[in-house]
């Protein structure tokens, strides 16, 4: 395995972990959505790197998967953002677990 691939694989792992941490720890939903998108990016990076992107044109199947994944991610994010607006309208808060809620 090439050094480039190693670098990007470790990057992917790190970003995924950071994303998970961010998703679980963030208070604001917007941050959580950012974290989810980070996680998505990490997975895409992993797919392409493993698909041989470091050496030359990568495996087209993962590329197609990533493209699909990107569109799905933007769809989900867009809907989540709309829901977030609605949530704030309905509850007056953009935080899922307000400190005084439970």
């Amino acid at each position: 395995m090439s050094a480039t691939a190693t670098i990007y694989l470790l990057t992917a792992a790190a970003v995924f972990g950071i994303g998970v941490y961010g998703l679980l720890q963030a208070r604001q939903i917007l941050r959580q959505l950012l974290a989810i998108n980070l996680m998505g990016g990490a997975i895409f990076l992993l797919l392409i790197t493993l698909g041989g992107g470091a050496e030359g044109p990568p495996d087209p199947v993962p590329q197609a998967m990533v493209l699909t994944g990107i569109v799905i991610a933007v769809s989900a994010t867009a809907f989540a953002l709309a829901l977030l607006v609605k949530l704030q309208d309905a509850t007056g808060s953009s935080d899922l677990d307000p400190p005084d809620a439970e």
């Binding site: 997975i43 797919l47 994944g69 989540a80 829901l83």
Partner: protein
């Protein structure tokens, strides 16, 4: 011909959804009709075909796996498809009143509903891991807005929580798929088996672990069930019904597929089924107790779902024909009964204006039919005879017995007692009279209310009838048992 049936199951609801996006009332009606009413017809033909020919694959676009995407139909998929058709159909009929075509609500509701139907059908038929990811996302993105249609603060918050966790779950699943693709070189569920048997390393096990956690999250398995109760309880009635009866089952279905079909029998990852069983047992008990603690009807039913899902995981380590029958029958009867209960709860909520248990007194006077449906559904959930739930429980116990899993047996029994506890708690609340001397209620049920109750009752009766029709159903199901399970 059978292949076109598969296509129809996915594309008719999909095109129906397109039609319902158009602004005309007739297009909505046509879309719904094409997308839902056609399903049972297709399924009858498909069932006959499956009985005749057994399971088969269908390569989309003519590109066979591993290059292309295959559909796969077998008795298990058929069972799930039937459930989508029946439960989804009846729930849709129930929803017809609240979400009439031509109204703004209807215009928003039906496209999503049809997309959800299409997504579930696609999911149950798909044989491709990445395609399944897309299906899962489609299911999620179609289901969550439906929850939010209730419009209450609780429902929005629940939808948000569901969405975040579902996205997390999807991504975790996707990561697993990514690793698997690289390790095995294919995405096809069934081709993968051979490669998996050869390549055995930490990567594949991590991949399966990731997939498992993703699915457990989507399937609301304890302790990852946290999104479920509020989401299912605050959604509109028909949506709750479909969520609890079908949507969460998608994850369980995939767990079955992966562990019973994809994963080679000797793979060390098979050991995870024990973990699933532990979680299932915990869910059964924890969900049962929490259902007992709830003060609102729909929350009780929702926690009941958490508990009942436990049964489905408990089956995994048993690995016998009986266990297989038990799992299938539990899928079926829980789906029918739970949907009936949610529809009935929706009617009650509508009639009473509240679903707090404390407000439900004299329901036998106020909403007799819905209460009846609720009770019948409850009978099946409790596993009391004569009902499908009873046969499911019987088979489960028998399977546990055959394998000598005493602890499991104990958990099963405890779970069914807890179920009895919460179901009867509901019924007790419904039969209560604050003032026993109170005069009779003169209020009758409106024709609409009666029809709505009728839908709930229909499903409840089906759950009951499932207690009598097991022999032919199981005959078909048996043929679809996973490879390792058919040995007695």
């Amino acid at each position: 011909m059978p292949s076109e049936l598969l296509i129809g199951l996915i594309f008719l609801p999909l095109l129906g959804a397109c039609l319902t996006v158009l602004p005309w009332r007739w297009s909505t009606r046509l879309g719904v009709f094409a997308g839902l009413v056609s399903l049972p017809v297709l399924l009858v033909a498909l069932t006959l075909a499956v009985i005749r020919e057994g399971a088969w694959y269908y390569s989309l676009g003519g590109w066979t796996a591993p290059l292309g995407i295959r559909l796969f139909v077998d008795p298990l998929a058929l069972l799930m498809l039937w459930m989508v058709a029946i439960i989804g159909g009846v729930a849709a009929a129930h929803a017809w009143h609240d979400f009439r075509p031509g109204t703004p609500e209807g215009a928003r509701f039906w496209p999503l509903w049809l997309l959800l139907t299409a997504a579930m059908n696609a999911l149950f038929l798909s044989a491709d891991l990445f395609n399944l990811y897309v299906c899962l996302e489609l299911v999620t993105l179609a289901a969550i807005p439906l929850i939010a249609m209730a419009g209450t603060a609780t429902s929005i918050r629940a939808a948000m929580r569901y969405l975040l966790l579902a996205l997390l779950a999807s991504l975790v699943y996707l990561l697993g798929v990514a690793l698997l693709y690289n390790a095995t070189g294919t995405l096809d569920l069934y081709l993968m088996t051979q490669t998996l048997a050869a390549s055995d390393g930490p990567a594949t096990s991590l991949a399966f672990a990731l997939i498992a956690v993703g699915l457990l999250l989507k399937g609301a398995v304890f302790p990852l069930h946290v999104w479920l109760p509020n989401a299912h309880a605050s959604a509109p009635g028909p949506v709750s019904a479909v969520l609890s009866a079908l949507v969460v089952k998608t994850a369980v279905y995939l767990v079955y597929r992966l562990w019973l079909w994809t994963l080679p029998a000797e793979d060390p990852m098979q050991g995870a089924v024990e973990l699933f069983a532990v979680l299932g047992a915990a869910a059964l008990i924890y969900g049962g107790i929490l259902a007992l603690l709830q003060e609102r009807l729909k929350l009780v039913i929702a926690y009941s779902t958490v508990a009942q899902l436990g049964y489905l995981l408990l089956v995994l380590p048993l690995a016998s024909v009986t266990a297989w029958q038990a799992a299938s029958y539990q899928l079926l009867s829980h789906g029918l009964a739970k949907a009936a209960m949610f529809l009935a709860a929706a009617n009650i909520l509508h009639a009473v204006g509240s679903d707090r248990l404390a407000d439900l007194e004299r329901l036998d006077q106020r909403t007799p039919l819905s209460l009846f449906a609720l009770a019948l559904g409850g009978v099946s959930i409790m596993g009391l005879p004569p009902s499908g739930g009873f046969l499911a429980k019987w088979l489960l116990l028998e399977a546990a017995w055959q394998e000598g899993r005493w602890l499991l047996l104990f958990v099963l029994v405890l779970g069914s007692l807890l179920a009895a506890g919460y179901v009867f708690r509901i019924l007790a609340a419904a039969l209560r009279r604050a003032d026993p001397t109170e005069a009779e209620d003169a209020e009758g049920t409106s024709p609409i209310g009666r029809r709505q109750a009728g839908y709930a009752l229909l499903l409840a009766l089906l759950a009951l009838l499932a207690g009598f029709g097991a022999a032919p159903i199981l005959e078909v199901i048996d043929a679809g048992a996973p490879a390792g399970w058919s040995a007695p």
